[in-house]
Amino acid sequence: MALLAGTRRPLDQPWEPFHPLAMDFLAALSAAVRQGCARREELAAFGFWCRRAHLEQLRERHRSRLPRLGRGLVFHAAPSNVPAMFAYSYAIGLLAGSAGLVRLSTRRGEGEETLCRCLREVLDRPEFAAVKARSSFVSYPRDDALTAALLSGCGGRVVWGGDATVAAMRRIPMPPWAVDLCFPDRWSLALLSQGAVAWMGEEELAALARRFYNDTYLMDQNACSSPQLAVWLADGGEKGARRRWWLALAREAEERYSLGAFQAARKLEQFCRRAMAAPGVKGLERYGGNLVWTAPLELPLAEDRPPKGGFGLFWEAEIETLDQLPALLDQRSQTVVCVGADPGETAALLAARGARGVTRVVPAGQALEMDTVWDGHDLIAALSRGIG
């Protein structure tokens, strides 16, 4: 077991949520990351996320009527291909008042290494010795016995996705009092108002496409919260508006996305797989060569598997009114990204209609933004306990 940062035997003393030292530490980490990792967008985004002003906002949002304390030591398992995920998970645990034991994959990439370097540097400062004593970042190959041994000292675990990982982790026992937060596979969609897009000027359209690019291409459209299905709300305007939208996205991708032979092949594979596995695919449009592919799907969806794109392949569906949206959702649906549609109105409608899925409705540009409320769980509340 390799120690990447922090200490080998973390203390499990509970702290109050938003402990001043935890806040100071994360603010210092924010500065270090923004200085040291500015070149990598996803790391810079983490640095921005734990800036002091945002931490203060979070403290206000999670203010509790009851006194609260953390849940001791919390075990975090983060995915190997979302570079900053382990850091978000750890930071949220720390804000909840819990100590953190973070397991990183042995297949971690350059992004994680860079972030670990920043963590080491800030944790080693004398003023953060108390934070270091409750922080441990380790890496080891899959080993159920070792994981079980580590978990035996934990008051909670946080497991980030992959259904297979969640299933494997749930087989490993924890102390009976420990809390279990699992984030299995999810899929997300975009809700686009044809009427709103039709009325947008070129500049507004380009700005929105830039945000939508960040929601999708920045993670190769493979993040759980990246939209796979674009649902057009036929609320006015003409169908040509859709073409304008995809062209605007293609222009953005042309400037920023590097699409190689590998990505193009995965995209073609994904398209063919769905088109061949079930009926209901009604065409394939390409914008900017292989940068943006769109393919209309008939409703109701013919396959039980959620629509899956990737590398800029978007499935499309059309609804006449917002009332038809809940029928497209299931327990695995996570984020609705609104383009021209109103997030508040959409969320209210989903709640009123008793939608089976969706835990987040956000405007374009915020799909990948980490939140302390995720998949419907208040993570600060879940990783702390109230004293009532």
């Binding site: 996803e42 398992a77 983060a78 995915p79 190997s80 291909n81 979302v82 570079p83 995920m85 994959s105 042995t106 297949r107 990439g109 190959p141 899959r142 497991v159 980030w160 996705g161 992959g162 297979a164 990982t165 494997a168 982790m169 596979d185 999810r186 920045l218 993670m219 190769d220 459209q221 493979n222 993040a223 759980c224 990246s226 699409l259 190689g260 032979a261 590998f262 990505q263 193009a264 092949a265 995965r266 073609l268 594979e269 063919c272 797989r273 088109a275 061949m276 596995a277 079930a278 009926p279 695919v281 009604k282 065409g283 394939l284 390409r286 060569g289 292989n290 393919a295 990737g310």
Partner: protein, 357 residues
Amino acid sequence: MDQEALLGLGPYSLNREEKTALYRRELAGLTRRHRAGCREYRRLLEALGVPEGGELAPEDAPMLPVGLFKEMDLCSVPREAVFKTLTSSGTTGAQVSRIFLDAETSAMQQRALYRIGESFIGDRRLPFLVLDSKRALRDRAMFSARGAGILGFSIFGGRTCYALDEDMALDLDGVRRFLDGRQGEKLLLFGFTYMIWKHVVRALEERGERLDLSGSILIHGGGWKKLAGQAVSQDEFKDRVRRALGVETVLDYYGMAEQTGGIYMECPCGHLHASVWSDVIIRRSEDYGVCAVGEPGVIESLSLLPRSYPGHAVLTEDLGVLLGEDDCPCGRLGKYFAVTGRVPRAEVRGCSDTYEG
């Protein structure tokens, strides 16, 4: 064109115009056939709005990415008609392709391979020295590409000797016994590029031994990926093979389990050639448009042989470059090209499994 006429063509006898006309017709026929026989393929054609009937320009035939054969079972004949399921080795740890062959397809593949090989080797069976272990035929795990290659080329061989023993060690005494009394005779040597390099060439060099097989012909395939990793160029490979074995004619071939039979043989000028039964289209990954001569891209491989599975137009994961058409100094008509490498695997971002690894 009926099968007899198709397989009766000279392997390198059609010029661009003739081959294009043949492919317009035959690819449309294969597309129709697989549309009727394979439900999944029919859905794809419907999704893409490919009309039924009519001819199809070779570059417009919908191509299936090679990775799809690993994810889906694609078959155009009733399951009872499948008499052999071929699997590709693929990269280590990855899923394998499953290719469903009926008697007709398998026979056509064999005949095409024979016609192509014959034009290089001649129609007389030659003593066959396999630069591999007999285990490659027996081991289920090793079968697939290696076993199928050895079996495929064994149609050109007479008496056979395996140069490597069960532990992949060079059995020099066995080879010398086999060669005894055959001095100066033309032999057919066959093996996989990396195996030849590691277990024959390097083994001979380390022992300070040489063989004199001048006048023989060595055919090898299976790709350069592993050798490129050891920084061995094609030229160096050939030089060292010639020095260690004394063989002058060393010919590479390019092929894939998804399109067995219609292999691309290297001519004495060092170019890979498309026979009349297969063809390459080099495509740009930016838009899958067709590359010009000399412009590197991804290789799409067409084959007129697959009758039992929709594998007549496959986008490979190999990179290549078209060198010319109908004008190779060796005199063969058709396209000639070079394979320059594999599509590099990129680090994929996104949420996925966390615990493995």
